[in-house]
């Protein structure tokens, strides 16, 4: 066997354990979930009788009852949450990174403060945020409302996550939840951007300055394009977190009044482990996976097509 071919085989064998493990623990289980979603499993013990697409139908046909209403709300909530969450993480993360890149004293301290939330478990930070955003009543404001009242900013007080109203289909109650989630993960995007900024050679910027470009111009035309791959990477990693999110919202608000803060992750957990509707829960999982695939697959395809061309 030629030297190269032997190397290729070794490479393959290095990857093999991972491939096998993922084949079983990821794709095998996805297949199992798919089978269950097509079954009649509705109590604590497995029941694999065929049910066709009934479980999926129940999630989408409004006439079928509360489940469909809840799921529709969930999907809108996921969209709203994902968009705002990503905007915040990327936007504020980038801002903080740019600020920290300005040779500030005490950068290490600031960096640790922004990174620290990542170290905390979602489960307890959820409760803390629940207290912070608890609105209290008109005469007895609590949490943030109490602070706003103390600062004389009463006009900014509102019902936070108890607000069941929305801007169109977007529930305002999600805003405090998005703030809580962003708080936890902005540090990560900040770190990524900071590294990216540090990686831009100073000569590039100097050359532009010599040519007469303003600082703002430098950022717009040199720095941002270089940071683009980072943005993409952050969007992927954070995007999949937001599509799967469960722990934080569950402990902070639960499904919320009128399902204002409900997401498919919570719906799936309650349906399966509280209601024992395993098949229904599996159907929700499959749809969650499809949603993720819709976002991820185009990205992966484009990345790897690009790499093959290189």
């Amino acid at each position: 066997m030629s030297h190269v071919r032997r190397e290729r085989w070794i490479a393959f064998f290095i990857l093999l354990p991972s491939i096998l493990l993922i084949a079983l623990f990821v794709y095998g289980f996805i297949a199992w979930t798919g089978v269950v979603s097509l079954s009649q499993w509705d109590t604590v013990m497995p029941d694999y009788r065929w049910a066709g697409l009934e479980n999926f139908r129940r999630l989408f046909e409004q006439a079928q009852g509360v489940a469909a209403r809840r799921f529709a709300i969930d999907l809108w909530n996921t969209l709203f949450f994902t968009i705002l969450f990503l905007l915040l993480c990327v936007g504020v993360g980038l801002l903080l990174a740019i600020l920290l890149d300005q040779k500030v004293k005490g950068e290490g301290v600031f960096r640790t403060i922004y990174l620290f939330p990542m170290a905390l478990s979602f489960v307890v930070t959820g409760v803390v945020w629940q207290w912070i955003f608890a609105p209290g009543t008109a005469n007895y404001p609590r949490g943030v409302n109490a602070l706003l009242h103390g600062l004389g900013l009463d006009a900014l007080r509102w019902k936070w996550y108890t607000d069941t109203s929305g801007i169109g289909p977007f529930h305002k109650a999600l805003i405090p939840v998005i703030l809580a989630a962003a708080w936890q993960l902005i540090g990560y995007t900040m770190a990524m951007y900071l590294a990216g900024l540090r990686g831009i050679p100073e000569e590039l910027r100097e050359a532009a300055r010599v040519d007469g470009a303003s600082e703002v111009g430098i950022y717009r035309h040199i720095v941002m394009p270089i940071l683009q791959p980072i943005t993409l990477s952050a969007l992927i990693i954070l995007g999949h977190t937001s599509l799967k999110i469960f722990d934080l919202i569950y402990t902070m608000t639960g499904a919320g009044p009128a399902f204002a803060t409900d997401v498919p992750g919570i719906f799936m957990f309650e349906t399966t482990f509280q209601g024992n509707h395993y098949a229904q829960g599996a159907a929700i999982s499959i749809i969650m996976l499809v949603l993720v695939a819709l976002v991820i697959v185009p990205y992966l395809v484009s990345t790897f097509r690009r790499e093959v061309q290189l």
Partner: protein
């Protein structure tokens, strides 16, 4: 040298400080709640007030438990978390490193398919695979053991560790690899002699990410490890909650205690984290 005290600098510091204060708000609540008495912490209207005194009993109860009342503390479970997180982090990092190396540097047919397929594994919602997971572990004889949970974390850590290392190694010039090949080193030899010594920043990023996620993980831990003697600290932390009445001051104290190891890692390795991200594992 004149210090630049122009408005821009002041603005920068002001913004940074403002954000720092905003970021510290929940930490303040966490800390002050842990130092309050039960009556104080139950009173939401006193959320922002300072504790009436340094009530360290909640820390004591959270750590030691109250055996006479059947309340288990966290002390017994800290070591379990270590036994779980350290091997799982190391193993998944090494596997990720090897995978990343192969996928970045050794093109063979199918490599471009294998990587995305592996990556997709990151995206499954974990609640949905709980049942088949526990049953599979039971079938292979690892049900209810720490090694079973380690296996789980290794498997589900493979996609992200591979991703990070692959991007990291993609930045390393291929000439280095070719040079080693010409010298006669095989695939593993090249790894050990050339790549591994250069991998430190990559390992730092992966270790920080994996350590944090595995240490704080709850769902798998509570479903797989039944014996209370084996449970990691996150489960023990949850168990400080009663079913009807929660003693929040004690729970907050417990949270702070449970966060100390991860916090230490961040503080100590934070600088290398940035350096690691800098060295190329950042790019998409």
């Amino acid at each position: 040298m004149r210090r630049r005290l122009d408005p821009w600098r002041i603005g920068i510091y002001a913004l940074l400080t403002l954000f720092a204060l905003l970021f510290l708000v929940p930490v303040y609540v966490l800390l002050s709640s842990s130092l309050k008495t039960f009556v104080e912490v139950e009173d939401l209207s006193r959320l922002w007030s300072l504790p009436s005194g340094l009530h360290l009993e909640s820390f004591r109860s959270a750590w030691f438990g109250i055996p006479s009342k059947g309340l288990r503390g966290l002390s017994q479970n800290l070591l379990n978390s270590v036994y779980l997180t350290v091997p799982a982090t190391i193993i998944s990092s090494v596997i990720g490193s090897l995978n990343g190396y192969v996928l970045a540097k050794w093109r063979f047919r199918g490599a471009n398919v294998i990587f995305p397929v592996m990556l997709f594994g990151m995206f499954i919602p974990y609640q949905s695979i709980l049942i088949p997971l526990t049953q599979t572990l039971a079938t292979i004889g690892l049900g209810g053991t720490i090694w079973g949970l380690i296996l789980v974390h290794v498997v589900y850590g493979i996609p992200i560790t591979t991703l990070i290392f692959r991007n990291y190694y993609a930045e390393i010039p291929t000439d280095l690899i070719e040079a080693a090949s010409i010298d006669g080193a095989g695939i593993m030899g090249t790894y050990l002699r050339v790549l591994f010594p250069l991998s430190l920043p990559g390992f730092v990023v992966v270790i920080i990410w994996q350590f944090t996620n595995i240490w704080n993980e709850f769902l798998f831990a509570v479903s797989i490890l039944q014996k209370p003697a084996l449970q990691p600290i996150t489960v023990a932390l949850r168990n400080l909650s009663g079913s009807q009445i929660q003693e929040w001051n004690m729970i907050m104290a417990g949270t702070l205690i449970a966060a100390i190891p991860t916090l230490l890692i961040y503080v100590l390795m934070g600088r290398y984290f940035i350096r690691g991200l800098l060295a190329g594992s950042v790019k998409g």
